[in-house]
Point group: C2
Chain length 230, copies 2
């Protein structure tokens, strides 16, 4: 069985967990607190970030983008027309553009800030920034999420799914990052009905269920986090 | 002919210029100052970052990673055994891991900081941070570059090229980011002889020549920037 080094609220890990679920692949989840910079973990991947996937024959595949490409190359064809990275060059560009949008831009402007301030800081060592959330950072992230939610609404109104006619990695990446932010109660769903309806569709997929069961010790979960009709 | 929206010292744009050179593809270079957030540029790519490639039939391919994957899918086979993204799954993982290392990690810890502080700030609007370089940021980037240079030395001592037996996107990405930093005189080459020798090999490639001819108005160029024996 694959092993996935992850953190329950790490949005990049959640993207890979959703993807593995869609491929029908099980993985043993190993929780990693990357801020501890554990030696054995850094030996696996010197970048020291989650997620890291390890195959049965100890092949180490580090990083959400690298794992997604590898999974498509190994398993993509098995999904037929539901391939998560579609085959035509134009669709591949659009899927990868949106994957990068959420895994890099949304991560850098919203989800990594909120998860770091509200979750990771609880178990960070004092000298690298443990403590109460910096509310300036939280407020900036909450302002940024509005712009992203509006963009998701625009995509969802102009297309069946975010990247085009079918569900792709673009939807899984977007939903993964939003799910971490939603756990913390920081998605203003009522402002963007099209984004909300699109998220309900992704949230109802079987691959999403394990994410809804996650709990981070000591971090209150948004009461509507698990509800399908929120 | 392709068009490439870039900035002469943007390391991500330089990675794509090197790649286009290796594929033997010419592109019309259009200088973009992303901090101006020009409306026409944001219409091409709402992420508003260089590089953005536009094909003859107006297909827009935004972002270094997306462009590199697209070029491999369209032109990769034409390079035969010199393919920049090798064909075996393990080599693809390693090439993509190192591409992400330099385009994300090195960019976020070194090259974007130095280019922003020393180059972009010269023509930024006052309200978004124009002015003299923040020397704390410059010092932090100069400390970080040492760690990366040591890692490059380690890779170069254990392999023929950074990713393995042949030159790949990994080498082009690493060299592109280092070249921007080297323009500014911030690479301590003498500390890491194996990294220096590897860089000399990439620097001597014909694809590298256009980068050595770049000049950013008002920014002094390191005197050894163009020398092969530095």
């Amino acid at each position: 069985m694959f092993q996935l080094y992850h953190h329950p609220l790490c949005p990049l890990s959640r993207f890979i967990r959703l993807s593995l679920g869609e491929y029908g692949v099980e993985a043993e989840l190993i929780e990693e607190r990357v801020h501890e910079r554990r030696r054995e973990f850094l030996m696996l991947d010197p970048a020291g970030q989650t997620p890291v996937l390890v195959t049965e024959d100890n092949h180490v595949i580090p990083g959400a983008g690298v794992i997604a490409e590898w999974l498509d190359e190994i398993l993509g064809e098995s999904l037929g027309i539901h391939r998560l990275l579609p085959v035509s060059p134009r669709e591949r560009v659009e899927t990868r553009r949106l994957m990068a949008w959420f895994n890099d831009k949304f991560f850098g402007e919203v989800s990594n800030w909120l998860v770091t301030e509200k979750v990771y800081k609880r178990f960070m060592a004092t000298e690298i920034g443990s403590g109460a959330p910096d509310m300036d950072v939280v407020r900036a992230a909450r302002a940024n999420v509005r712009h992203h939610l509006r963009y998701i609404s625009w995509l969802a109104q102009n297309r069946n799914w975010l990247g085009g006619d079918r569900m792709t990695y673009a939807d899984l990446a977007a939903a993964a990052h939003l799910s971490s932010v939603d756990y913390l109660g920081d998605v203003p769903w009522d402002e963007e009905e099209p984004a909300k309806q699109w998220y309900q569709r992704v949230k109802s997929r079987p691959s999403f269920r394990p994410l809804l069961a996650d709990r981070a010790p000591g971090v209150a979960v948004n009461p509507i986090y698990t509800e399908m009709d929120f």
